[in-house]
């Protein structure tokens, strides 16, 4: 493959790739994202390869392994084109039938079709699946069309045409104006206007500037960036190229967390192929613009998702943040002006350049433009990735797209923004999803994690979970975060284990205020959010734990009480040793005398 030396050569190549594609040729599209791989998709893929060969169909059907389209609950996912037939929960044992019936005979395998729970109808085509239809899949929609290990799939869709446009038609200032006009705000959690950040970086003093893609997605429960990086890494590269050109940078970094081996691999493949084709390196497409990208892996530290900590780790140091009186866009990596953006932010850039800022601003709300990908997980029927226009309500996402709570249970809360965000109760389900609206109620958009909880989740336990997570991840540099989280964890653990005291809730609020005011970085300042929102909206649960030593949700095992069963239990104890041993090891019996509120463990 000769490096493309000009924009004209790129267009010629693109035409040739598209002309070789036959839209009528059968293609089996299989999701090979991490989620489906966890459900044995690798065996499904190899079964298809074997079966297609065994049935003599190798030249008649293509097999495309793609990134995550988002309907993770129903994986492994298979779509057969050109009829767009959607199969879900496919097992290796189903493959032979799919190949002979659907690929060979154009017949549908009924039992593998998705059944709409609302209508009871089987749905044949992927384009009619309600879960997808109700979304606005500007970014995720491309995942099924691309084999991430093949740059030509990206080119066939018009990939790198935004880069061409920028290199031929737009000055750096014009690019920055366009991004500013689009209203694109950072998708990693900060929500800072991207165009403004680019402008500051461009205007900062210094000849050497860096561009970084933050793929350290540390929020537990969030996997949007993983799916973008695994499924469409070139969209991120193209965004970075455009940003680097606008800012005046020739060196970029992609920082992928260690826990995403497939994303690392696909990013590396994409960079290599981009170099081969001439999209990275020197004199890109004959424009005189140079840009190279290095990929670094994280080391398992949540705090390295914070920009200054990330940069410290890129410098070979411990991932400790620093105070941001001086922005990283002025002095960042190696003290040079550095522009760091999240994966999803970068992926939006080619879209904005190709379609224009005016088009982009029509999507979303006044202050939050475009779409946002959310990871809708937890106690919800359709768990997976949801790409919604800003402004869609939480109710529409959780119920309309998510299909509501499984098992007929009652919705309790939805946690947005990961450990930096807060729990939003049912009374606020009609809130539009928007950076400022979510912040107004004490939570935040964050990176897009959306964890649904039902009546079986204890909000105090959830608060304890987040604080305990953050305590472990705290870098330890500043006292408020290091000591404050430790103390909050102790108090919350005491409360969940029946040792809560009057005044504990107020103490948690005090400590929270201290952390918000004086922590060095956003890990500390946003850590109290889960605690403060759960106290604000579920204070009664805290009080039940502290005053009545009771866990209304029945989760905190030290507080689970059985009354009036002492005699029956002793029978169990003697007659069914295993059963009793199981109970004894898990529960604490409480004898309900009016005077004695303490628990005795056996």
């Amino acid at each position: 493959m000769n490096r493309l030396g000009s924009l004209a050569e790129l267009e010629k190549l693109r035409k040739s790739i598209v002309s070789k594609k036959d839209p009528k040729k059968p293609c089996v599209i299989i999701c090979g994202g991490t989620g489906c791989l966890a459900l044995a998709a690798a065996e499904v893929i190899s079964a298809f390869n074997q079966e297609v060969e065994a049935q003599g169909l190798v030249s008649k059907v293509d097999i495309r392994v793609t990134g995550c389209p988002g309907f993770c609950e129903r994986g492994p996912l298979v779509v057969v084109e050109p009829e767009n037939i959607f199969y879900q929960r496919v097992k290796p044992s189903d493959v032979a039938e799919i190949v002979s019936e659907t690929v060979g005979n154009n017949k549908v395998v009924e039992r593998l079709l998705y059944v709409d729970p609302e209508t009871g109808q089987r749905i044949v085509h992927e384009s009619e699946i309600p879960f997808y239809v109700k979304q606005k899949r500007l970014l995720l929609g491309n995942n099924s069309l691309i084999d991430p290990e093949n740059i030509e799939d990206y080119l066939a869709l018009g990939g790198y045409s935004a880069l061409s446009k920028v290199l031929s038609d737009m000055s750096p200032e014009e690019i920055i104006e366009e991004v500013k006009k689009s209203g694109l705000r950072g998708r990693g959690g900060g929500g800072f206007p991207a165009g403004r950040k680019w402008e500051t970086c461009r205007n900062a003093e210094g000849d050497i500037k860096y561009v970084i893609c933050n793929c350290d997605e540390g929020d537990p429960g969030a996997f949007m960036d993983r799916s973008l990086m695994e499924g469409n890494p070139h969209s991120v590269l193209e965004g970075m190229l455009i940003g680097a050109y606008a800012i005046g940078s020739s060196q970029g970094y992609i920082y992928v967390r260690n826990e995403y081996p497939l994303a690392v691999m696909n990013a590396e493949t994409a960079v290599k192929q981009a170099e081969e084709y001439g999209f990275l390196g020197e004199n890109i497409l004959g424009s005189g613009f140079d840009f190279t990208v290095r990929i670094n892996r994280g080391g398992g530290a949540f705090v390295c998702g914070e920009s200054t900590a990330l940069m410290a780790s890129l410098e070979g140091k411990v991932g400790e943040p620093r105070a941001k009186y001086v922005h990283t866009s002025e002095k960042g990596l190696w003290e040079m002006p550095t522009n760091l953006n999240n994966v999803e932010t970068w992926a939006n850039v080619p879209l904005i350049i190709n379609q224009g800022a005016d088009w982009y601003t029509k999507i979303g709300t006044e202050n939050s433009k475009g779409t946002k990908i959310f990871s809708l997980v937890g106690k919800v029927n359709n768990t997976g990735l949801v790409e919604a226009p800003m402004g869609m309500t939480l109710r529409e996402i959780v119920y309309g797209i998510g299909g509501g709570i499984p098992g007929g249970k009652q919705f309790k809360a939805v946690q947005t923004g990961g450990p930096s965000g807060g729990c939003i109760p049912e009374s606020m389900l009609d809130l539009p999803v928007d950076f400022d609206e979510l912040t107004r109620v004490g939570s935040m958009m964050g990176s897009g994690g959306m964890i649904v909880m039902d009546e079986g989740n204890c909000m105090v336990d959830i608060a304890r979970y987040f604080i305990s997570f953050l305590e472990g991840e705290s870098c330890g540099k500043c006292l408020p975060c290091r000591e404050g989280l430790k103390r909050m964890n102790q108090i919350l653990t005491d409360i969940t284990e029946g040792r809560g005291k009057e005044g504990d809730i107020e103490l948690l609020e005090d400590l929270s205020a201290m952390l918000v005011d004086s922590s060095l970085c956003a890990l500390g300042t946003s850590a109290p959010n889960p605690v403060l929102t759960t106290i604000r909206y579920f204070r009664d649960e805290y009080e039940a734990h502290v005053r009545d030593k009771r866990c209304p949700a029945g989760v905190c095992k030290e507080l689970i009480t059985y009354s009036g069963l002492v005699l029956v239990d002793s029978l169990y104890f003697f007659t069914a040793a295993n059963f009793a041993a199981a109970i004894v090891s898990r529960l604490t019996f409480s004898v309900s005398f009016p005077l004695n509120k303490s628990s005795t463990s056996i």
Partner: protein
């Protein structure tokens, strides 16, 4: 699976050369070193310190800061249990406790026969399929307490 000191030093030298002895690549160097040797042995860290001309204390500082690094030998099979929020909400803690009982070790430990090393990780990004257990890079989604024993028995 114990490696002699000389062999360790050779491996470290190769890694250092790959990264052109760039001090800024310390984290990547340690990651590759751990892949080669299995853990970050003291001798390896000393070699890194000398090769990069970085104080040993700084090398240790970085090696102990990041959760991905282990300063002790690890078992033949690395068991990772995801304790991310979505998995937590679906009962990951009980899965972890069951594994701890079956394997006889607590999270962060390696058993005496060096069969299993058990770690927890805060989210691997397969949240829709939680709880997730990863053994030797192989993901098992939708993990339940009664599936644990059978799963571990596959790994000797």
């Amino acid at each position: 699976m114990s490696m002699g000191v000389e062999q360790m030093q050779e491996k470290v030298t190769a890694v250092l050369d790959k990264y052109r002895r760039d001090k800024g690549s310390l984290v990547s160097i340690l990651q590759d070193t751990q892949s080669e040797i299995g853990y970050l042995a003291r001798e390896a860290l000393m070699e890194v310190s000398q090769g990069l001309d970085v104080p040993l204390s700084q090398v240790y500082s970085v090696a102990t800061f990041f959760k991905a690094f282990s300063l002790k030998p690890r078992g033949r099979h690395l068991v990772n249990v995801c304790l991310g929020t979505a998995c937590h909400v679906r009962g990951a803690v009980k899965v972890l406790e069951t594994i701890e009982r079956e394997a006889g070790i607590k999270s962060g430990e390696t058993d005496e026969e060096l069969r299993f090393s058990l770690e927890t990780v805060n989210c691997v990004g397969a949240c829709a399929l939680g709880p997730i257990v990863i053994i030797d890079g192989k993901y098992s989604g939708d993990m339940k307490i009664d599936k644990v024993k059978a799963l571990l028995e596959n790994y000797r």
